[in-house]
């Protein structure tokens, strides 16, 4: 595999990783719903024509078919935009894939505001909330190119269904080649003692890192945690940093009701009541625009994180 850090897009890394997995394991099958061009699995199809299944524009049917395949021992990776992956095929994913205890890897592309020009109808803000309430499901959002590669492999190796939020475009890199990734284990990107920024996904991981740098200039020491697995939450890590910093800010490119912010708050309020502030979408529908515009529009910026961090520290 070529150097991950030099690749153009998350989707290319994802698609190449699927090829790697399919070469090793004949049970790996890729499902598309007329968005193969968007996912970038055309090369997969050339190499494994029989294991590339295009269901057309029929997401609910696709998730159902994948569940049937799974019951016969296959490992389906099912790709479509996150809005359709969760909202359109929710009952099929809930029952046929999860209640029936199947092994379906559902990948929702263009999470949150990264749906950009496709606008409000295509903007998955509530996908974390929807998937997080499915018992035993694993919910993942890789934060950089290395994470996409390694977590795709971890998702494959996990026995059971998974929902992956996958940004398609761009390849921000925050780790080096030696970084390891384990499902359910958050990563301490930066240590700190005054406040902990818990982020998920590339957009917000970057903003959290920028925020920690800005806070440093004001002599505030902020830890940054990459919570790439939203469910199961890395409770141990959250608890240890809550104890250490006594102030937490969650950062997600998603509806914060039901999202990472909820997961962290629910856990801490029961186990170790801590001041928690949340950065995320505040009960709003999506809109059309560039990612940069939408970040400002929905207050998903380093500036917002800085403000919430200071506020959290004040309330300690």
């Amino acid at each position: 595999m070529t150097d991950i850090a030099t690749m153009k897009d998350f989707r290319t890394i994802y698609a190449d990783t699927l090829i790697e997995l399919a070469q090793e394991d004949s049970r790996v099958v890729v499902f598309e719903a007329d968005l193969m061009s968007a996912t970038g699995t055309k090369h997969f199809k050339e190499l494994f024509p029989e294991r590339s299944i295009n269901c057309g524009v029929a997401e609910a049917n696709m998730v159902g078919i994948a569940s049937g395949l799974s019951s016969q021992g296959f490992i389906p990776f099912v790709n479509t935009f996150g809005c359709f992956a969760t909202r359109r095929a929710y009952d099929q994913f809930f029952l046929s894939a999860n209640y029936a205890r199947q092994n379906v890897k559902l990948v929702g592309l263009d999470p949150g505001i990264t749906a950009a020009f496709n606008g409000g109808t295509h903007m998955p803000f509530c996908d974390i909330a929807l998937t997080r309430v499915i018992p035993d499901l694993v919910v993942v959002e890789p934060g950089d190119g290395w994470a996409v590669h390694h977590l795709t492999k971890a998702v494959y190796a996990h026995q059971g269904s998974v929902y992956v939020r996958l940004q398609r475009k761009g390849n921000p890199i925050f780790y080096d080649a030696n970084q390891t990734f384990e499902l359910g284990k958050g990563i301490i990107v930066r240590d700190g003692k005054d406040v902990t920024l818990v982020a998920t996904g590339a957009v917000m991981l970057e903003q959290a890192i920028l925020a920690s740098q800005a806070l440093e200039k004001e002599n505030i020491s902020a830890a940054v945690i990459d919570m790439h697995t939203i469910k199961p939450l890395d409770k141990e890590l959250v608890l240890s940093y809550a104890k250490k910093t006594n102030a937490v800010v969650t950062c997600e490119n998603a509806q914060m009701a039901g999202g990472l912010g909820s997961a962290v708050s629910e856990f801490l309020s029961e186990q170790y009541p801590t001041v928690v502030r949340r950065v995320g979408i505040q009960d709003l529908f999506g809109e059309v625009g560039t990612v940069e515009y939408l970040m400002k529009r929905f207050a998903l910026t380093a500036g917002q994180i800085v403000q919430e961090a200071k506020d959290a520290i004040k309330r300690k």
């Binding site: 524009v57 020009f117 606008g119 409000g120 625009g289 515009y293 529009r297």
Partner: protein
């Protein structure tokens, strides 16, 4: 049926459609990327409906209850409908250049709460079809004599919801629902026949209890004739299968699946428009 349109009327529609194509190419070209293919394939259907067929369409009163309504269920073709609505005077043409920009009233997919003249919000394929049937049912319940027009894509027809709606509309005898399938034979990943084949699409709709016709979707007279027949039969919901060409009128993209969500520069748009405008409208027939 005999001719219902004289040569001058036909010519007029062709000129309007050409202007709508020009504005659509420019609108998307100004942004640099967009769903040009599926927008251009429905321009003639939209032109016929808005400039000849639909009644009580009033830009000053876009929510007039008695109006004919239109649901563009393949909502990604919104930019073509925006060009039509601007031409009709629902909003200034300058709005077209705000397509997809932050804070715009013209998002990539149709939004009834943002854009004057849009009758229903669409973008998640399949959903507009049921909404259209709901609107037609509402008019029936309210004894309003209006027609609801619905435009769906051929790729979109792979959604199960389309066929759930089809059975519903037949059951409720929604003869005031006239649908068009924009049968351009393409979706994103290639041709519909290679992905999930629609098979005998006329037979399918007939089997679902609809009044079915098939026409060239770029032929105004054939389209109008089909609408008149659909209205005249008065018993069943109607499906007009329209053979169309994706990206029709944009020579370098015509008939290509890659025209679906295509990036092109303002320069390319300019050239395409020059070429389009130089064509003789009369030849299009």
């Amino acid at each position: 049926m005999g001719r219902t349109m004289n040569n001058q009327e036909l010519k007029q529609l062709q000129v309007i459609a050409k202007h709508i194509r020009r504005d659509t190419i420019e609108e998307i070209g100004n942004l640099g990327v967009g769903h040009i293919g599926g927008a251009l394939s429905v321009v003639d259907i939209l032109t016929l409906l808005y400039f000849r067929v639909m009644e009580h369409i009033d830009p000053k009163n876009p929510r007039n209850e008695n109006r004919d309504k239109l649901v563009l269920s393949k909502g990604h073709a919104g930019p073509a409908l925006y060009a039509v609505l601007a031409e009709k005077g629902f909003f200034p043409k300058e709005w077209l250049l705000t397509l997809n920009k932050g804070g715009t009233n013209l998002p990539s997919h149709c939004d009834m709460n943002r854009t004057p003249g849009i009758d229903f919000t669409t973008g998640s394929l399949g959903q507009g079809s049921s909404a259209a049937a709901g609107i037609a049912l509402a008019d029936k319940l309210k004894r309003i004599e209006a027609i609801t027009y619905l435009i769906i894509g051929d790729g979109e027809s792979q959604e199960g919801q389309i066929w759930e709606m089809a059975m519903f509309a037949a059951q409720y005898k929604l003869s005031n629902l006239i649908a068009f399938t924009d049968y351009n034979k393409l979706q994103i990943d290639g041709s519909t026949s290679d992905i999930i084949d629609l098979g005998d699409i006329e037979l399918k709709w007939k089997g679902f209890g609809w009044f079915v016709q098939r026409v060239n979707g770029h032929d105004f007279e054939a389209l109008e004739d089909a609408v008149l027949q659909a209205k005249a039969q008065g018993e069943k919901p109607s499906m007009i299968i329209c053979d169309t060409i994706k990206a029709k009128g944009f020579s370098l993209a015509e008939g290509l699946a890659s025209s679906h969500n295509m990036a092109y520069s303002k320069e390319v748009a300019k050239q395409a428009i020059e070429e389009l405008m130089a064509e003789d409208g009369g030849k299009e027939k």
